[in-house]
């Protein structure tokens, strides 16, 4: 088939070992005018070195305030196929598992109404359907939702929570990250679909401190599985690691950040009271070492991208919480945090930024969390601090 536009610059990116997004666009372009015009528009961006998209207007589906990102080309006359090019964020299932049938059903819908191009998945974790027209949004939603799919979040709302593979295929999961993610998503459908927060709010759930979902870097609330009690040791398997060529001293003992491990060539000893559960030793010897059995999670709050005051990582607000259905304690806390954010947050102020502005002690007090040393890397430096009325001695 002959191409609608010459795309010499993009053609270059069909070469090379790594799968080519240009080939994907070309495949879609064979069936879709939208995709064909996308190729032309992107080629122009490659030539001119600027984007050709305008700010999105507000588009969406009836009754929802989010789930669609409006997008229009700034040169619709030249590329009418992408005059509208909205994306639809489909809420992915926990753990990003699909059956062939299910995902093909989505393809069917998308071929019918959209560009035939997708992102599986977007950075937040939605299955992103890339490029459709305003008038197609309702039909797409009807087709999707009637088949059991719903939209994810966008705007000042709870965003699609996501998680690592967890207990489904990982021996290190201390919490059921997929079940938790699924529960949170269903619990907060209204908060996701009808933006009413000061700004976006993201949950990410990792089964352990390896954090394969990067929750600590990009979730307003990061839920990270962990354990209490002793690391389980299979001494025979420890020995086997050495037999197979691992240098236990340099790769495990010397790399333990707390220096709480000892290896005499026969027995591995761990002073669990000084272990910080970093997961390194366990990752080095998956057959020999396993997390302890009293399982739960650490809750951390506040990470986000750098705008406005610089990037934030989430920090500990609850050192240990059992994360078992119906997650009452957890939801109660989330409720209090959101209420506090709602009362105090400015427009476009993330929870982490708000706490930074009003102070972490104030957040703790007002949300009702006990201060504990696990919440800080180190105590304050300069001796400037506040007292409450009840701390003052009156004579």
């Amino acid at each position: 088939m002959s191409k609608k536009y010459a795309t010499p610059l993009l053609d270059e990116l069909k070469k090379g070992a790594f799968p080519s997004f240009v080939k994907e666009m070309e495949m879609a372009a064979e069936r879709s005018d939208m995709a064909a015009d996308l190729l032309g528009l992107v080629e122009l961006s490659y030539k001119e070195k600027v984007t050709h998209w305008k700010h999105g207007g507000i588009v969406g589906v009836r009754g929802y305030g989010g789930g669609v990102i409006g997008r229009y080309s700034d040169i619709p006359d030249k590329f009418p196929g992408v005059a509208h090019f909205h994306t639809v964020r489909v809420n992915s299932p926990s753990g990003f598992y699909y059956t062939s049938d299910a995902i093909k059903e989505i393809c069917d819908i998308w071929d019918k109404y959209g560009s035939g191009l997708t992102n599986v998945h977007g950075s937040t974790g939605d299955l992103v359907l890339l490029g459709t027209r305003t008038e197609s949004l309702e039909p797409i939603f009807a087709e999707l939702s009637s088949r059991g799919w719903d939209l994810g979040g966008s705007g000042s709302a709870m965003r699609t929570p996501s998680c690592c593979v967890g207990k489904s295929r990982c021996e290190w999961a201390n919490i059921d990250s997929m079940a938790i993610t699924n529960d949170i998503t269903h619990h907060f459908q209204d908060e996701m679909h009808r933006p009413a927060f000061p700004y976006k709010f993201k949950f990410k759930v990792a089964g352990c401190a390896v954090d394969c979902i990067a929750s600590i870097a990009r979730a307003d609330m990061s839920i990270i599985g962990t354990w209490k009690g002793d690391i389980r040791i299979d001494q025979t398997e420890v020995k086997n690691c050495e037999t197979k060529g691992m240098n236990i001293q340099t790769e495990v003992i010397d790399m333990c950040p707390t220096g709480c491990m000892q290896w005499d060539g026969k027995q591995l000893k761990i002073d669990n009271s000084n272990c910080n559960r970093c997961m390194n030793c366990i990752a080095r010897m998956p057959k020999a070492l396993r997390p302890g059995t009293e399982q739960g999670a650490t809750l951390l709050l506040g990470s986000k991208a750098p705008i406005v005051t610089g990037a934030l990582m989430s920090w500990v607000i609850v050192p240990f919480i059992k994360m078992e259905p119906p997650y009452e304690e957890f939801y109660e806390l989330v409720g209090k945090i959101w209420e506090w954010w709602d009362e105090n947050g400015k427009n476009r102020e993330r929870i982490g930024e708000l706490i930074e502005r009003l102070s972490f002690p104030r957040f703790l007090k007002e949300v009702g969390l006990e201060p504990v040393a696990a919440m800080v890397k180190e105590p304050r430096r300069d001796p400037f601090f506040f007292w409450s009325e009840e701390d003052i001695i009156k004579k």
């Binding site: 998945h121 459908q189 679909h193 990037a311 427009n347």
Partner: protein, 358 residues
């Protein structure tokens, strides 16, 4: 519209259980250990004795329905119709017997899929929309990923590194790619301030929120024009005002470009999660292959390969040798832009007389 099915709202995503391979479903929560078999395959062994083999392939993330269908068909043929995507946009296929691995990999490779990405190597590149879909992009994302990964594909398919090297790309400082905690990351940046279209500001923008959007308080009202003005020497071209007010376009074909930040991570193993730090403030947008950028990435990667101890991440390696040595070993210039002047600048100054000569 009449032929449309009945819409439903607030039903949430389908339950994940429906999508689990029978072996995975049966052994849910019972996994005991895993072993990496090859760069593209691993096995997880359950307490029940069951095993599930995972085969991983790269994906460009921007997928046509053609490719998705093809992958689904492969999964149907080899895997009982089950597949998943990883948190870094790779695709995983499952088989429950070792003997099923080879035919699956053969078919994948025959169809041009790149198998690999497991263990201490370079996995897929987390990235964003770029010129494909975003109004805010200072560079493209998919093209950068392709250019880099073509150069580094061996580290996906075969070669081992000291540890994982997580590469990420974000097309603007909004950083949808969460570039701020990656081993090596590229971020699209501007070098010139926004251009104010006073007429449009008046008509389309809310002046107070535009002013509030500026991290450096560079924006103030211009009441005579019912618009805003920018104190140019305070603007550091973040584009946040443009996110809030479309009448302040900031992109500039010659001065937009790519910054490289390095040494971040999120895993808690050994050392705490770390932010990435600036390695290169600006390289030109030179599509389609961004040779200046891929060169710099290779310089950093090669210095890491030469210097890192087994299991050290990029940031841990730099932490051990010191940033002054990082600039020496990579031969990247240290410039005035590297010296922090933002929120926590002070904490980055060298408050010790103990540093290395370079």
């Amino acid at each position: 519209m009449s032929e449309l099915p009945q819409r439903q709202t607030d039903i949430g995503p389908p339950h994940y259980e429906k999508f689990l391979h029978p072996v995975i479903k049966k052994n849910y929560g019972k996994w005991k250990y895993h072993e990496i078999l090859t760069p593209g395959s691993m096995v997880h062994v359950s307490e029940t004795g069951d095993k599930i083999y995972t085969i991983r392939v790269a994906s460009p993330r921007l997928l046509s329905t053609n490719t998705i269908r093809e992958m689904a068909d492969i999964a149907t043929k080899h895997c009982g119709g089950y597949l998943r995507f990883t948190t870094r946009n790779n695709v995983e296929f499952f088989v429950d017997e070792e003997g099923k691995i080879a035919p699956l990999i053969k078919e994948l490779q025959d169809k041009g899929y790149m198998v690999g990405g497991i263990g201490p190597r370079i996995s897929n590149v987390v990235h964003t929309q770029g010129w494909i879909h975003c109004h805010s992009a200072a560079t493209d994302a998919s093209g950068l990923v392709k250019a880099i990964m073509d150069d580094l594909s061996e580290y996906f398919t075969t070669k081992e590194l000291a540890n994982r090297v997580r590469i990420a790309v974000a097309c603007c400082v909004n950083m949808c790619g969460a570039v701020h905690c990656s081993d090596i990351a590229l971020v699209g940046v501007h070098k010139t301030p926004p251009r104010i279209d006073d007429e449009n500001v008046k008509n389309f923008c809310e002046v107070p929120s535009t002013i509030a959007s500026c991290p450096t308080s560079a924006i103030s009202p211009d009441p005579s024009k019912k618009s805003v003005k920018i104190k140019l020497e305070k603007c550091m071209y973040c584009g946040n005002c443009y996110s809030v007010c479309p009448a302040m376009p900031i992109s500039d074909p010659d001065n937009d470009g790519v910054a490289i930040v390095v040494g971040g991570k999120v895993a808690n193993l050994r050392s705490a999660p770390t932010f990435s730090k600036l390695a290169v403030p600006w390289l030109p947008n030179n599509p389609p292959r961004w040779p200046e950028v891929t060169d710099a990435v290779k310089k950093i990667l090669n210095a890491y390969i030469a210097g890192a101890k087994k299991h050290e991440r990029v940031g841990e390696w730099i932490g051990r040798i010191g940033w002054e040595k990082f600039f020496q070993e990579t031969a990247l210039p240290f410039t005035i832009q590297h010296v922090d002047d933002f929120t926590f600048a002070r904490e980055t100054f060298r408050t010790t007389a103990a540093f290395k000569w370079t």
